[in-house]
Symmetry: C2
Subunit: 168 residues, 2 copies
DNA sequence: ATGTAAGTTGACGTTAACGTCAACGTTATA
DNA sequence: TATAACGTTGACGTTAACGTCAACTTACAT
């Protein structure tokens, strides 16, 4: 329970080292600071990144990979930092966050389907490359998907009532 | 096996109707055509979208939601359409596709973690909003995540040897 | 003292994915 | 016949997320 604040042997990075940790450029890191996503401490002018910045940045990039904008991410970080005291605003953001969570499960479905599609495609390519004679390989896909459309389309549009929007 | 080409009672949409089906603008649809992602048939000048375009567009947007660029997506569609005959190029793309599939499983992890984070945050907001006295709620997060960093960081960097790049 | 490697702040350029007009053609309905 | 309603093709504007300089400081090894 004692807040000793032992930052002695904690790892520290300059902007260059920190950037390469996440496989990005120093420019990107500075850009994120300008946007207010991270606020590294300074030692005579230079930025110094520690463990706190590391975990924070991990989550930033995680969200970014999933297609969220930096403004979206800041909306979350602000709440985490406790800089959003107004209850009305907190409630507003909480609703958005809840929507995001819902959409994330839909993303999972997207990943499933895309993974299936891509592995299937890879398999088709393999068989085609292994094949000796080049037959009408290209049209296979269109034919397949035209066939199963009716059922698919029916499904989509009976459940069309409860639609909801995208990301943030 | 008989290619009857029964397009009689198939659903058809104009660009406006088609766009609203996917909750986007006609401009976006036209843009995708300019990029070569879809090629709807024409009836005296106007674009006409059918089932084929529908399923195609579904997949396009699915990939887009996961952060892929339109050029990335076109690389896939070209192969599906069979317009990439050169074996060398086919092999090249197949490798990329395989990488994409691998990265998609990492995306799943991203979703998991972000979902956990967001639901946790929502819960914290709820308890804070329900609470009567406003105590030092804001700092909770930073403290929590500083604590678990060491172990976390060690994990990250022992498995740092087998890194691989991002999307396409 | 002189590189050299690391950092800094502007300022401007760039790319993707559209938005936003403008100017125009076609069809159906009052 | 006129006036919507729906379509078309440019052409230009916009935003996010940086890249790419330039001009400069600071720390340290030779």
């Amino acid at each position: 329970m004692n807040k000793v604040n032992v930052t002695s042997n904690d790892p520290k990075w300059g902007v260059q080292a920190f950037a390469t940790l996440f496989d990005i450029t120093p420019r990107a890191v500075r850009f994120y600071e300008d946007k207010g996503l991270i606020t590294p401490c300074r030692e005579n002018g230079s930025r110094v990144f520690g463990p706190v910045e590391y975990v924070r940045f991990e989550r930033i990039l995680r969200a970014k990979r999933l297609g969220f904008t930096l403004d979206d991410i800041k909306e979350v970080l602000d709440v985490m930092d406790g800089t959003v005291r107004a209850h009305v605003e907190l409630r507003r953001r909480r609703e958005n966050f809840a929507r995001v969570v819902k959409n994330l499960s839909r993303r999972r479905e997207d990943i499933k389907k895309l993974t299936a599609d891509m592995t299937d495609l890879c398999a088709r390519i393999d068989t085609h490359l292994a094949d000796v004679n080049p037959d009408d390989h290209g049209l296979a896909f269109a034919a397949d998907y035209e066939a199963v459309f009716r059922e698919h389309f029916a499904d989509e549009h009976t459940s069309d009532i409860n639609r909801n929007d995208d990301n943030a």
